[in-house]
């Protein structure tokens, strides 16, 4: 395979990413990678995933709509959205909040998904954990009421009350 950059040398670096059946491929030779200042994964001269990522970020589906990327700025660390797009990295945890509107399509491209379903911190995430439990219990409560199982419904209602009192205590 021939390098996509120079079109002459043999491509020795191949990147393939497939998310939800959508395939992105990138083939480049070693000297072009070096020249572009892009690292070869696992070597000392950097990590090319960021530059690849900024490639993904270039395709803005919402381009032309809303505020310009240069004007969206994280209040906390000062990083602008266009800087983020260039370096492919966030500056601080608040960037996630400030760039929020634009992140869903990005996360969907990278991960096929935009919401977290995994582990929750035990201490600081306690509230979130209880909230998720309450949501789950409320669903169960409705089912029991619909099926006229009032005894079970009452016990679940008590559990919800107990959890909700914990949420306000925190």
């Amino acid at each position: 395979m021939i390098c996509q950059e120079c079109g002459t040398k043999q491509a020795t670096l191949h990147f393939t990413k497939i998310v939800n059946g959508e395939k992105t491929e990138f083939h480049i030779c070693e000297s072009c990678a070096r020249e572009k200042g892009e690292g070869i994964p696992g070597t000392a001269n950097g990590f090319s995933i960021h530059s690849l990522l900024s490639g993904l970020l270039e395709f803005e589906p919402s381009a032309g709509l809303g505020p310009k990327p240069q004007t969206i700025r994280c209040d906390e660390c000062g990083l602008t959205y266009s800087q983020f797009r260039k370096i492919g990295r966030f500056g601080c945890s608040s960037c996630y909040k400030h760039f929020s509107d634009r992140l869903d399509p990005l996360f969907k491209r990278v991960h096929g998904n935009a919401s977290h379903v995994g582990k929750i911190p035990k201490r600081s995430g306690g509230q979130i954990k209880y909230k998720r439990e309450v949501e789950q219990l409320k669903k169960e409560l409705h089912q029991h009421i619909e099926q006229e199982e009032f005894e079970q419904a009452a016990s679940i209602r008590d559990q919800i009350r107990e959890l909700e009192s914990k949420i306000t205590d925190l």
């Binding site: 994964p41 696992g42 950097g46 990295r89 582990k119």
Partner: protein, 354 residues
């Protein structure tokens, strides 16, 4: 200066143990990325902020919070020599990024070196657990326990919607990277490897070679890891990787059996040739060394060579890397000297013990 322990031995203590399926799976690794809520990520942090993050995070092992999991030692990166850093990189205990570019970088290392915790790498905190053989679930359990201990002491950057917030969008959510290092010589020899590897990338996993230079795997070693960190739970990510790795193990086993059934004499020739060359050559570059060591390792696994242990091969793989060679011979070496010393070292390891 007295040599630090990690620089003396090529093989981390954890690697000496035998793990499940260790004739194919070299190691299982979990890395989780975490950040502190109130500090900018390392890339944008000032030197002062980086120091604060380091203080806050190294306080956790210093105050004995990790003691229930064993003995830990903390190293500040700026106190280490270039050579020591390189050795840590070659043993996969720290990333090249932490070694060369970090500010306020630190390493917390367990006695057996199976746990290495990087501070101020791309993220504030990176917890890495390594197990010998196919033990990815065990590695996750330990990493998660360590994560819980840190979380008791510091405020993590976490959002209900996005999960654990990381510097790079490719890690957000669970912040987990699970990877399995496999030795797949029979799949390479029977030319099935490309088909299998391209199938792997179809299911959200990535493959790279050891000390990866591009997609070329050195010494038939392949690292398979998850790419998706958001929208799947840790258990789903690990189960997915587990079942794919399990299938690859079965394919490799079948390929080895077929090779032995159909062309044992040719395999034996290849293995013994490599053994012979390693035992007698006086110049050996790292690429050839890796390939020959892979052949010999296969020979041991197929019981064609009985006089060597598989750990010797693991040890030589690390020991013949440039930084380690330099450490062993305690002097800077140019490429040619290195190739000569490498050959010398291998001969010494493989010569019959008297």
């Amino acid at each position: 200066m007295e040599k630090r322990r990690f620089a003396q031995d090529a093989l981390s203590e954890w690697m000496r143990e035998d793990g499940p399926d260790s004739e194919i799976v070299i190691s299982s690794r979990i890395r989780i990325a975490r950040n502190l809520r109130h500090h900018p990520f390392p890339m944008l942090a000032t030197n002062q902020q980086s120091r604060e993050v380091m203080e806050q995070l190294t306080e956790v092992p210093r105050s004995g919070k990790l003691d229930e999991l064993g003995a830990f030692e903390t190293f500040v990166l700026s106190d280490l020599s270039e050579l020591e850093k390189r050795v840590l990189v070659e043993k996969h205990l720290i990333s090249p990024n932490l070694a060369n570019e970090s500010r306020g970088g630190a390493l917390v290392l367990s006695g057996s070196e199976s746990v290495s915790i990087m501070i101020n790498e791309e993220d504030h905190l990176r917890i890495q657990c390594l197990y010998p053989g196919f033990q990815i679930r065990e590695a996750w359990q330990l990493a998660s326990e360590i994560d819980d201990i840190f979380e008791q002491e510091v405020d993590y950057a976490f959002s209900e919607r996005r999960g654990y917030l990381t510097s790079c969008p490719t890690n957000v959510g669970t912040g987990i990277r699970a990877s399995i290092m496999m030795h797949l010589p029979a799949l390479v020899l029977t030319q099935q490897i490309n088909r299998i590897l391209s199938a792997i990338t179809q299911v959200g996993l990535a493959v790279r070679g050891l000390y990866g230079e591009g997609s070329e795997a050195i010494g038939n070693l392949f690292q398979i890891s998850n790419q998706i960190t958001l929208g799947q739970s840790e258990d789903e990510i690990i189960d997915n990787l587990y079942s794919v790795a399990r299938q690859i193990i079965e394919h490799e086993k079948a390929a080895r059996e077929r090779l032995m059934a159909e062309s044992q004499i040719r395999i034996e020739d290849r293995v013994q040739r490599s053994y012979g060359i390693l035992s007698h050559a006086t110049i050996m570059d790292s690429k050839e060394a890796a390939q020959r060591l892979s052949d010999v390792r296969l020979g041991i696994d197929l019981q064609l060579i009985q006089s060597l242990s598989p750990q010797v091969m693991n040890e030589l793989m690390v020991l013949t890397q440039p930084g380690f060679l330099q450490q062993v011979f305690s002097e800077p070496l140019n490429t040619e000297e290195r190739d000569v010393r490498r050959a010398e070292l291998i001969r010494r390891y493989l010569s019959p013990k008297t």
